[in-house]
């Protein structure tokens, strides 16, 4: 039985926690501490700064900011921190979770509802956690005739591809996981993986509705990738670079949306289609093909695909911000780090703590992150809004929109960019 708590009682839960704590202390006291003592007899401890490093000294250093801050800074400079925490997965997942909450509450306000309300005291803020727990506790059902290895791998690949997409996004000056010169090309390459993963998942389920949904997703993503790439070419021409950090840095005085509004509109529409959001959610059209290519996915496999979808949503919104809205550029609103702390230290009553290694983050980085997050949340709001306003469109309308209108508009955008370049409005001697 995959039931997480048939008769859940808070008192018993706390009791079980206390039981665990008791047994941990018991085992540490009886086995752990004697073992450490025996090891300390054998090993010769190192001498650091003229002091013998004893376990007690090591513990006191954890509480000493002048010792711990350089370690934290060194850790923040590592790749693992960037991938896992700040510009990478953790930051993106946090924004994605916020997106889901905003989406639910905003749609509810639009539709005469209250939305999630009970879980987590304040306006159902923990609803997402509850949903996640539910998905984890559910049984994963695999269709009998499915191609099992591929069917298992597809959701994981989906999340992996979405996370790879997140890695290209520069959040603040110098804060990017993969600062490659061909960044935009890398983004296109990663986007190219999504239709393959989708059709793999749909085909391996060996079921009719996922198959139709997968074919629709394939049509949609492949036909909208062309206007997507073309709509970004104008910006590449004007900046002369494929590096996303350079593209963001080039918009210090004007964001490109001022000069290339047509490209921004085309990119926004193709973005909606790539994300399979209403009005382009044909691959998951409920009343026609149940849940499209997600029909046979269950439990945490479905949860992984949802996680990947929202990571992808964040990444596309961030790409829009970086390419068209100026990325981290914005007026300086974050106050500078107080100078007296750097010079004199913090006065704590009789003691004055002089902490080297401050500030942890530079002013530029904090300000850039703030503007980046504000702009991204704004773009995400506009991505979510059509869900409350539009019905779903049909496959033939979708394809004619992608292949004729959007590609035409993307070329118009390229000509505008070329015109601006040759007229000398932008480029050397121009505005930027």
């Amino acid at each position: 039985m995959s039931v997480i708590a048939p008769n859940f009682k808070l008192s018993e839960f706390i009791k079980s926690l206390l039981d665990n704590v008791f047994w941990i202390i018991f085992i540490v006291v009886l086995i752990g501490i004697p073992a450490i003592m025996m090891i300390l007899f054998v090993i010769e401890m190192p001498v650091i700064d003229g002091e013998l490093l004893t376990p007690f000294l090591a513990l006191t250093w954890i509480a000493d900011p002048s010792r711990i801050l350089p370690i934290v800074k060194a850790f923040m400079a590592t790749d693992i921190f960037r991938v896992m925490a700040f510009p990478g997965f953790g930051f993106a997942a946090l924004l994605a979770a916020g997106t889901i909450f905003i989406e639910r509450k905003m749609l509810a306000k639009l539709q005469l509802r209250v939305g999630p309300f009970y879980c987590g005291k304040f306006e159902g803020i923990l609803q997402l956690m509850g949903d996640g727990l539910k998905l984890i506790s559910k049984e994963i059902i695999i269709p009998a005739k499915a191609d099992k290895p591929i069917f298992w791998a597809a959701p994981v690949l989906f999340v992996a591809a979405a996370a790879a997409f997140v890695a290209f996004i520069p959040v603040a000056p110098g804060w990017v996981v993969a600062d490659v010169d061909m960044g935009l090309l890398g983004v296109f390459a990663v986007i190219g993986f999504f239709p393959i993963i989708t059709i793999l998942s749909a085909w391996s389920a060996n079921s009719k509705f996922p198959f139709i949904g997968g074919i629709r997703a394939l049509f949609q993503m492949v036909s909208f990738e062309i206007p997507l790439i073309l709509s970004l070419l104008g910006v590449v021409m004007l900046t002369g670079s494929l590096n996303l950090s350079e593209i963001a840095a080039s918009q210090s005085s004007f964001p490109w949306i001022v000069f290339l509004p047509v490209g921004a509109i085309v990119f926004f529409i193709t973005m909606l289609a790539e994300l399979e959001r209403i009005p382009f959610d044909l691959p998951e059209a409920e009343s026609e093909i149940v849940a499209g290519w997600l029909t046979e996915l269950s439990g945490m496999m479905y949860g992984l695909v949802q996680l990947g979808t929202y990571l992808k949503l964040y990444a596309f919104a961030a790409l829009f911000v970086v390419v068209f809205l100026g990325g981290w550029n914005g007026p300086m609103v974050v106050p500078p780090f107080p100078a007296e702390i750097l010079e004199k230290g913090i006065e704590l009553g009789p003691v004055t703590a002089n902490i080297p290694g401050l500030p942890l983050f530079t002013q530029d980085m904090l300000n850039g992150t703030l503007w980046f997050v504000l702009k991204t949340v704004g773009v995400i709001f506009f991505i979510l809004l059509p869900r409350g306003v539009f019905p779903r469109i049909r496959v033939d309308m979708l394809l004619s929109l992608g292949w004729t209108k959007l590609i035409g508009l993307a070329f118009v955008n390229i000509f505008i960019a070329l015109g601006l370049l040759y007229a000398g409005v932008l480029g050397p001697g121009g505005l930027q």
């Binding site: 539709q111 869900r387 049909r394």
Partner: protein, 378 residues
Amino acid sequence: MTFNLPPGLALQKVDERIMTLNVGPQHPGSGHMRIIVQIDGDYIVACDPDPGYVHRGEEKMAEYRNYITNIPHLERPVIHDSCNVLYPYVLGAEELLGIEVPERAKYVRVIASELNRCIYIMYWLAIYGIFLGHSTMFMWPAGDRELLIDLMEKMTGARVTHAHFVPGGVRNDLPPNFEDVCLRQVNYFEKRIKEYAAVFYDNPILISRTRDTGILSRQDAIRYGTTGSVLRASGVDYDLRVKEPYDVYDELDVHTNVMKEGDSYARSRIPWLDMMESCNIIRQALQKMPKSGSVRVKLKPNPKTKGLESVYKRVESGRGSLGCYIVSDAKTEPYRVKLSVPSFRNLIALPNLLKGEKLGNMPSVYWSLNYWPVEADR
């Protein structure tokens, strides 16, 4: 692989390109029925609707209950249109039992019937919205429906299955101050449904999606025997409230909404216009209703009919003309009750409308037929 098929059966030969989809009965876009759809790519080549999953034997049950106890179960086929489903039965039973209904009761019936029509259409519209992927159009009608449901609750005491119409009038008189409350709620309701135009009916994506899909021509609409909004959307001016007025509809000014297109958009717009017309009728009825008087003729405990006779009455329900044929044989129970339901008539048009359409049009065409599966199976 060889089969020894029983005599008289043969395996059906199916083209390799054709994929057969079972849409229903456990499918979010079907209701309590199944549509067997054969598709070639994205085009539907054949469609076979398969109702009957919720058959409950209402007609047979009616032969074992007397004229009064038949009321609560005969409204079950369409619980959110329960007054209109019961209306023809009550009219027929009154004729068989020879009862003259008081004037005030007739107006109360008209008000209840029109309110119920709006409640049904709102429910239908909510599902039409979600079938097209428009979740706001699912929530708004479902929420605004509450206005009228509250009115019905004040009037009858029940929110959904009212059992309000009885042979000889209605069960209870209106509560005090009902007229004012009703007028206020209905006015607000009308203002509210006019707002739907901005978000739904004038939405360019909706129009481009449902225009010119599933076109039912005027001749076909008459030939298949469709009724109600489907018939009126194909350009036939046919409304039983005007053509065969029952109770006091001949004293009220009823306007019939007709559209000529016959496509799925017209079929979805006609019920919306009907709701505004219902609001008009309710306002007229509230104005013309006698302010006091009896609303019910007292019947004997087990009323008997006079002899072997039959009666056929029909009314305009939320889905179209709904008929009830009652045969009596001088007993307390009817000999036979037959419901002639509009849902089944409208469903007959479905295979012909879906043939050659795209799969994406299936939900919008199917639900625009104003079809309620439970009523078709009764």
